[in-house]
């Protein structure tokens, strides 16, 4: 078996893995190995050919391939070693990774520390139990995006999209530009799941109807999709039968949520957060298994790649320090999601780390003017008022962790509708 030793092994060369690998190198890790199952680095950004990336980080608007390209170049220049076309099969004792590669065969990697950056996958038709026939022509939006943008294969001509997530809206525009007719974007919730700018630029620009509080009640067609039935839903999100109608189409795209891809993580016995479906981490992005870090959508699904890059840099740098033996370890303090907050990441803080920590969180429901608070008992650690909140848009509070001795709670309180 081919054996490789390194300081830090990063699993996944998407935006999270690339940023983590670069940061690990910058932090002083001599050998950083980036393992990627695709034949090229960049991850999902390779198929995200639309603009909107890098506004926070680079103060300019880039496409996915351009954003990824900058990091690929930086990683190469920093001396990160890329092992592509390689799938990690398992994480064993002592952080040993077993991988498969068509040219090298089985590869055993012995790293000092690991960064998990496998990203996420899409929720499927079955996850949301759409009844009806099972013909060809039902795709998750990301799968359709890959076929159209990377594999040069058009998926259909007349389309209904379920879910107003960003990928769904972006695919509505993409397919329209390629000559397809997008009949409607159907959203179960009474509000938009993705970003407002995507509604404007992807739907409104092309007069694509957005049907809020609607769902797909059945798929018709024995071999290829021939139509979908849709209906309005009541407040309990149950279809109202008398509102049901049929939309002829040959394709149904689903943009109904993302789930962190944590098969390896679970198999490695790492503690998981049942809300995020990712590993619970501290502010250094370290999981419950010392020396195994995680970042990006494998931890929690982000809406902006810029946030992914930021937390991935932390993960990479801390992994390097772990491998070099310079990462301090102190008491672990919990971070709880209080009223109005669905989850907070990180889920715990290491008191010895010191310095600032960014708390990323999502609110439970959309709201107007809202006060966001992070507190430790009665002590307010951070407080910020924002004019508007939505579960689709990540919130952030920065706290000083220097003298923390007790768990932290994050709350969101709407003060003005």
């Amino acid at each position: 078996m081919h054996t490789v030793f390194c300081d830090v092994a990063v699993i996944g060369a998407g935006p999270a893995g690339l940023a983590a690998a670069i940061a690990a190198k910058q932090e002083g890790a001599a050998n950083v190995l980036l393992i990627e199952r695709d034949t090229a680095p960049g991850g999902i950004l390779q198929q995200c050919i639309h603009p909107g990336f890098g506004l926070q980080l680079f103060r300019e608007e880039l496409t996915g391939p351009e954003y990824a390209g900058r990091f690929v170049k930086e990683a190469r220049e920093a001396g990160v070693e890329l092992l592509s076309d390689t799938m990690v099969l398992s994480i064993g004792e002592d952080h040993i990774l077993t991988c498969a590669n068509p040219e090298k065969g089985l590869v055993e990697i012995h790293p000092g520390a690991i960064v998990l950056a496998m990203g996420c996958r899409e929720r499927t038709r079955a996850n949301i139990r759409i009844p009806g026939e099972r013909p060809a022509g039902v795709y998750t939006a990301g799968t359709a995006q890959r076929l159209i943008n990377r594999q040069n294969a058009m998926v259909g001509r007349r389309v209904v999209i379920l879910g107003s997530g960003d990928i769904g809206m972006i695919m509505a525009r993409r397919m329209t530009l390629e000559g397809a007719k997008v009949e409607a974007v159907v959203e179960l919730l009474p509000y938009l799941a993705g970003l407002t700018r995507n509604r404007v630029q992807c739907l409104d620009d092309f007069d694509i109807p957005l049907l809020l509080s609607h769902t797909v009640t059945a798929i018709e067609g024995k071999r290829r999709v021939e139509a979908v039935r849709i209906a309005q839903v009541d407040q309990q999100r149950r279809p109202i039968p008398e509102t049901e109608r049929t939309i002829p189409c040959d394709t149904l795209l689903l943009s109904v949520g993302l789930i962190p891809e944590n098969e390896l993580t679970r198999a490695a016995g790492i503690e998981m957060d049942s809300i995020t479906n990712g590993p619970s981490v501290d502010q250094r992005m370290e999981t419950s298994r010392p020396g195994i870090f995680a970042c990006g959508n494998v931890v929690h699904v982000n809406d902006l790649v810029d946030n992914v890059t930021a937390e991935s840099r932390t993960a990479g740098a801390c992994a390097a320090r772990y491998a070099l033996g310079t990462l301090p370890r102190g008491q672990a303090l919990g971070v709880a999601h209080g009223s109005g907050v669905r989850y907070v990441c990180p889920q715990r803080l290491d008191a010895a780390a010191g310095g600032k920590a960014a708390l990323y969180f999502r609110v439970a429901a959309p709201g107007g003017k809202t006060v966001l608070t992070a507190r430790c008992g009665e002590t307010i650690l951070a407080r910020r008022t924002v004019p508007r909140v939505s579960p689709g848009e990540m919130c952030r509070l920065d706290i000083d962790t220097a003298h923390l001795t007790a768990p932290v709670t994050v709350e969101a309180q709407e003060v003005e509708a």
Binding site: A100, P102, R121, R129, P131, P135, A136, I148, A153, E263
Partner: protein, 486 residues
């Protein structure tokens, strides 16, 4: 124009089991099926149980053939390299009324020769299966009930038959038959005429239509009985080892739970009588009914972990019961009808029974010297130890490229499946053989890659790659550089 001694219509489990049985003899056997792949309808979409037949109608042909099949399964699944697990079954009674039904079921089992069925106390039941409803009052244990991969079983039967000389014609629909002087002489198909002496009708749901083509009088009906199922993610926390059967009511056998050979929980089926032989739709109401009924047996079952829902259509013949015999009118015509729910469980028995009937009718069945009952599956990367993996990688580097990450299926395995006989030529055919796309992402990641591999290996453009049946195209043409742009 094809020439055969025997044409088998239908490549479901019954047709393929008969094909394998007849491949022992010096006969030219041809199997035709209108689908893209072997596995039929009911044969691939069922509960995956190889039953002992404890609850078959005592004294029936079905009971006898089921008994024979189960007795041979342990051995034959090894010959054919098919996943098979003897997991046993529990039939818990939750209500006093259900308790009252147990003695009749027990007596039936004894009458069917399944003499190892025993009564269990609530404590014994809960010790075996802690997830069963704690309100359980008692129940039966059927130790030799087993689960199988029903689809791989059909593939294995077909591959073994093919290796022994049987020819498979897929996407080949029977359109008529030529009867001369009261005897069959040819089968007309969408792929041309097949001259033959015998036709075996194993067309299941379409058995009545084939019989009519052969000029037989039809004194029965065949209608679809739909069964809907849930499959849960392997990682779901609440699982059982044994099959959990409900106590049947006079009108329904009810919905069961089991763990498949691949570790997924399966829930179902419904039993909905319909008219449309192509209606495979699932419905919100019936799926909710499965969830509700299964919770009665296993309260903590987590249906929210579902990774797929589907339905299969059993051929429901009226009057019911196995009808396996030569035709009444047309010489050379043989019918296998009435196999509704126990096709897999009775397959081996049916196949031998058919051969016996042929022999009894004076057909010469001369054993071939070179018949081999052994079939090996595609060597699997998932589950292999590192030594085996190294060996596979040395033989074919494509074992190092994982295409389906949920089920760890490599490119090497997919390429092999495409080039076997009978071949996997569609995305679903690959999926059923290898489980690529059967995991939690349901082909989200691997689907496009499998399409590309099919396109490459079959030498067809992407837009000709289909999901399953003809017309189930997946893509409509190139985005750039296609004909429209030229």
């Amino acid at each position: 124009m094809y020439q055969a001694d025997v044409v088998i219509v239908g490549a479901g489990v019954v047709g393929c089991a008969i094909a394998r049985e007849l491949s022992r003899y010096d006969l030219q056997v041809l199997v035709v099926d209108k689908r893209d792949d072997v596995g039929g309808d009911a044969s691939k979409s069922n509960s995956s149980i190889a039953i002992t037949g404890f609850d078959c109608p005592p004294g029936s042909l079905e009971a006898r053939l089921c008994h024979e099949t189960r007795a041979r399964f342990d051995h034959v699944t090894k010959e054919l390299d098919v996943p098979f697990r003897v997991c046993g079954a529990l039939m818990p009674a939750i209500t006093p009324e259900q308790m009252e039904r147990l003695p009749a079921i027990y007596d039936e089992a004894m009458a069917n020769g399944v003499t190892d069925v025993v009564y269990l106390t609530p404590e014994e039941i809960l010790a075996k299966e802690p997830e069963i409803n704690p309100a359980v009052l008692g129940g039966l244990y059927i130790p030799r009930e087993a689960v199988i991969d029903p689809f791989l079983y059909v593939v294995a039967l077909a591959e073994n038959a093919a290796a022994n000389g049987v020819k498979f014609l897929l996407r080949c629909e029977v359109t008529g038959m030529t009867v001369e002087n009261g005897a069959i002489t040819a089968v007309e198909t969408t792929q041309g005429t097949i001259r033959t002496k015998y036709v075996i009708n194993a067309a299941g749901l379409y058995g009545d239509e084939i019989a009519r083509m052969a000029g037989e009088e039809i004194d029965y009906t065949v209608k679809p009985r739909k069964g809907q199922f849930f499959i849960l993610d392997r990682s779901t926390p609440c699982k059982t080892e044994a099959v959990i059967y409900p106590i049947p009511t006079p009108t329904s056998r009810g919905k069961l739970l089991l763990q498949t050979v691949h570790g997924n929980m399966l829930l179902g089926p419904t039993a909905e009588d319909g008219e449309d032989k192509t209606d495979h739709s699932t419905t919100a109401e019936e799926l909710a009914g499965i969830e509700r009924d299964c919770r009665q047996l296993v309260p903590n079952i987590r249906v929210s972990d579902t990774i797929t829902q589907y339905s299969g259509l059993r051929p429901n013949r009226t009057p019911a019961g196995f009808h396996i015999a030569f035709g009444e009118k047309t010489a050379g015509y043989f019918e296998v009808g009435g196999v509704r729910s126990t096709g897999v469980s009775c397959s081996l028995g049916i196949a031998r029974y058919v051969a016996d009937q042929f022999r009894a009718a004076g057909v010469e069945l001369r054993e071939k010297e070179d018949f081999s009952p052994i079939r090996r599956g595609i060597p699997r990367f998932a589950g292999a130890d590192n030594e085996k993996r190294e060996q596979l990688l040395a033989e074919d580097p494509l074992y190092g490229r994982i295409i389906c990450r949920c089920e760890t299926v490599t490119e090497a395995e997919i390429v092999q499946a495409i080039h076997r006989d009978p071949p996997a030529t569609t995305v679903d055919a690959v999926k059923r053989r290898l489980r690529a796309g059967m995991g939690r992402c349901q082909g989200g990641f691997c689907g496009p890659k499998v399409m590309e591999i099919l396109s490459r290996e079959l030498g067809i453009p992407m837009e000709q790659v289909e999901k399953n049946l003809p017309g189930s195209y997946l893509t409509t043409g190139p985005v750039r550089g296609g004909k429209e742009d030229a």
